[in-house]
């Protein structure tokens, strides 16, 4: 595979994003969607995994690019969510349209990068575009959410940079392929891991996520909760094989804590969008915990989560919400089931508890929705369904999952019918955002050093 084909979607998306600022022609946008999706599908389905250095430099100096099976799932989820959002909200706003193109370009560039500093630049670009998308429209509440996101994100990325330069001063290389042969210090890796955990939406560390995802407009929250949270997770997927054993265990424990904490907070929340935002922290925690099994399992989980979450965030009719909820719980034959099978293999008891919790809080989302069908959501639903054609079914676990999910849904429904529970208090400073989180971060750093 040549570098030109692999890098062409970045250039195409950036080019069309710049063009869209000046013109509002509809045919141009459809031309762009068709061109980019053809190009990316060609890369996804006809190219074999490859690693090369851009510009044919030596790997010590140049930027290494790598396309492999984990990138496949991340890029596939990015493409489906992006195309469905863009096609559905075609007449929305031309400025936001070009921002969506830039978001696609930077996320695509992230999902093929295999270099510590290149990952920093693309993650920073992604967050910069997210700030603009959240704060656009001069709504004070949204701007406040974006500002909180900015503070936490810039501090996390400063940590990331510091870890990167420590690793570089020890080894003299930045590409992750070359770092795998070196002996790395846990002190430097810890800074990188902390930053990526903050970016990947872990409960307790990512205070920004709940406000940003629940306040912003529907297409923005679909894009952010669907694909932009995958940015930090992708960094974790690439970094995880380099970590020493102790840090690996720490990451998995943090992920499991997030899976349960986010679920419990989501159950006590009232507004549907806030429930979904807490649910994102819970699901990203599962994806991080799945890294202990294999990076591919985590990538598959991220794929299933992003399609389902963007369906749920669209809040467009009972049908799409039901498909998204069933996939998120893990009911066969939707994609969530195959992702949950890996989770069950890694943590047999905990996975059933998570299924129970997920179905408990997802019941509340159906209140006030009508039966409605939207043509652009069939793409997401089709992607969720189509994975059953090339994945193996597991035997007995289907019945377990079905029984637990039914029990959870009934319990959630009954509890909400009988008692109106208030939302939980912010023990972790989720609202205050900046102060508590940073202290937690600093204390964790000290604990890790000792």
């Amino acid at each position: 595979m040549s570098a030109d084909i692999l890098l062409s979607p970045v250039l195409l998306a950036a080019f069309f994003g710049t063009i869209r600022v000046f013109t509002r022609k509809r045919w141009l946008m459809w031309f762009e969607i068709i061109l980019i999706s053809t190009c990316v599908s060609y890369i996804l389905f006809f190219q074999s995994p490859a690693t090369f250095v851009v510009g044919e430099w030596s790997s010590a100096v140049g930027v290494e690019v790598r396309y492999d099976s984990t990138s496949f799932w991340f890029i596939l989820s990015l493409l489906t969510v992006w195309v469905s959002v863009k096609a559905r909200f075609e007449r929305w706003d031309s400025f936001m349209d070009s921002l969506m193109d830039y978001l696609f370009a930077s996320l695509y560039a992230l999902f093929i990068s295999n270099d510590l500093f290149n990952m920093y630049v693309t993650i920073e670009l992604t967050s910069l575009i997210s700030f603009l998308m959240v704060g656009y429209g001069k709504n004070p509440a949204r701007i406040w959410a974006a500002l909180k996101y900015m503070f936490l994100s810039s501090i996390a990325l400063a940590f990331y940079l510091f870890g990167t330069i420590l690793l570089y001063s020890e080894t003299g290389v930045l590409s992750i392929g070359a770092l795998q042969n070196e002996k790395l210090s846990a002190f430097a890796l810890m800074f990188v891991v902390m930053a990526l955990l903050v970016k990947s939406g872990i409960f307790g560390l990512s205070a920004w996520l709940i406000d940003v995802h629940s306040m912003s407009e529907t297409p923005v929250s679909m894009l952010l909760s669907g694909v932009a949270v995958n940015a930090g997770l992708f960094g974790m997927v690439r970094i995880y094989p380099l970590l020493p054993q102790r840090l690996k265990e720490f990451v998995v424990i943090v992920g499991l804590f997030s899976a349960f904490g986010g679920g419990i907070y989501a159950f006590f929340e009232k507004k549907p969008k806030r429930v979904l935002a807490f649910s994102t922290t819970s699901q990203m925690g599962i994806a991080v915990a799945l890294l202990s099994l294999s990076p591919l399992a985590s990538a598959l989980y991220a794929f299933a989560h992003s399609s389902a979450k963007s369906l749920l965030f669209s809040r467009n009719g009972k049908f799409s919400t039901m498909i998204g909820a069933l996939s998120l719980i893990g009911i066969p034959p939707l994609a969530g089931y195959f992702a949950k099978m890996n989770f069950e293999e890694a943590f047999p008891t905990l996975s059933l508890l998570v299924v129970f919790l997920t179905s408990m809080y997802l019941v509340k989302l159906f209140k006030g929705l009508k039966w409605k069908f939207s043509p652009f959501e069939f793409l997401l639903e089709g992607v969720l369904l189509s994975s059953c054609f090339f994945m193996p079914f597991g035997g007995a676990s289907i019945f377990k999952i079905l029984i637990v999910a039914t029990g959870g849904a009934t319990a959630g429904f009954l509890i909400w019918k009988k008692a109106a529970l208030p939302p939980l208090k912010d023990v972790f400073g989720l609202e205050e955002g900046i102060a508590y989180q940073l202290w937690a971060l600093v204390i964790m750093v000290f604990v890790m050093i000792v």
């Binding site: 500093f117 509440a141 900015m150 510091f162």
Partner: protein
């Protein structure tokens, strides 16, 4: 760990402390800037090894130019982000006439209801 890296960690800690303790959004932004300066210092210090500057091609032993090239990129990105956050703070202060984080949070919550 050499003394210079320790010094840059101290600067980063000062920046974080300012962001966490102070209530004024402008002061918080300055804290973020101080923290990024600490990171920049660590890049410069770790790239320098007491040799000649990288522009001179005659001597064989030179300072490693890569960290300096990297930190230029991150300074530019940091500038873009701080400019954008200043615009956001400007807008919030023009609506609510304050830059105090706690007051802003209360008034925004009040407006939502």
């Amino acid at each position: 760990m050499n003394a210079e890296v320790f010094f840059s960690i101290v600067i980063m800690a000062i920046g974080i402390t300012i962001v966490a303790i102070k209530r004024d959004l402008m002061v918080k932004l300055i804290g973020v800037g101080i923290m990024e300066t600490g990171v920049t210092l660590s890049f410069v210090v770790l790239g320098y090894n007491g040799k000649l500057p990288p522009l001179l091609t005659l001597p064989v032993e030179r300072v490693d130019p890569l960290p300096q090239a990297l930190i230029i990129t991150s300074i530019v990105v940091g500038f873009a982000i701080s400019a954008l956050s200043l615009v956001f703070v400007l807008y919030l202060s023009s609506v609510y006439h304050t830059t105090d984080a706690v007051k802003l949070k209360k008034r925004i919550k009040k407006d939502e209801r």
